[in-house]
Symmetry: C2
Subunit: 147 residues, 2 copies
Amino acid sequence: MNHSEATHDLRLRGYRVTPQRERILQVFYDLPAGTHLSAEELHQLLSNESSTPISLATAYRTLRLLASLGMLRELDFSEGHKHYELNRATWEPHQHLVCVECSTPVEFTGAAVADAARQVAEGYGFEVLDIQLKIHGVCATCRGQGK
Amino acid sequence: MNHSEATHDLRLRGYRVTPQRERILQVFYDLPAGTHLSAEELHQLLSNESSTPISLATAYRTLRLLASLGMLRELDFSEGHKHYELNRATWEPHQHLVCVECSTPVEFTGAAVADAARQVAEGYGFEVLDIQLKIHGVCATCRGQGK
DNA sequence: GTGCTTGCAAATGCTTTGCAGGGTG
DNA sequence: CACCCTGCAAAGCATTTGCAAGCAC
């Protein structure tokens, strides 16, 4: 699914295709895979361009809408605000390592965790849509610095 | 580590043992394993008893303190507020299945995911303190009801 | 007695919402 | 041309913080 197919899909589902929604979708399609934006970041990014100013309220509303339609994935890194990224057909589970000392986040993806998780979910009769793993720990740098 | 060892540890680390902190620690030690409370829930629970009224601000402050000391674990279920539980010596990774349709949460623990996660973390030189897995999907009930 | 802690209330940060005007289908 | 969307500002939650009084050590 590309940008124009997405807007077409929006219309099909009974939602109107507004310049704001088109622009926001395009932003996410243009984003490198694995990049994610918060509502505030999206709003900032669109404020910088003179063409399509979008209110913060609309940014929030649109992100929620697109996430509820499955077009975007909602990520929660416990930073006090949510992040969103394009829900690509071939998604990888999101895995996040956070150092409790310096808060440095490391992102990665891996199959082993996903497989294990999928197996459990299926045991409960769940159809898996998204897998998010968060590991808290102490990074190598902070471990080195005494304690 | 039990309740009184915990308060002793508090003192050792230079923090004062106040009635509020003792009472909150006791609440968590009395809680069945796997149960978790939000700041609001803790505050409610303590408001019901005539003996130790604790302000909401103190509930928040104490939860944050105990979590930073590693005595409590901070859980984030994407419900808009955090939950806390006792960080027992033999903790199991927290795994959370959430149905995107009906929001029903299913909690479970399992070794397979933990092992896979631990392996990745060690690859990055991390000392693992906590593992939290969140799976979004559609539960059996909601899958049954057409869609 | 010193200064960490508490309570209160006000402030903050993220997100949602009511309402009136505007644009899509 | 009906109704969904947007923008604005105000409201809503969860959580944090400034300050004066209180209590642990």
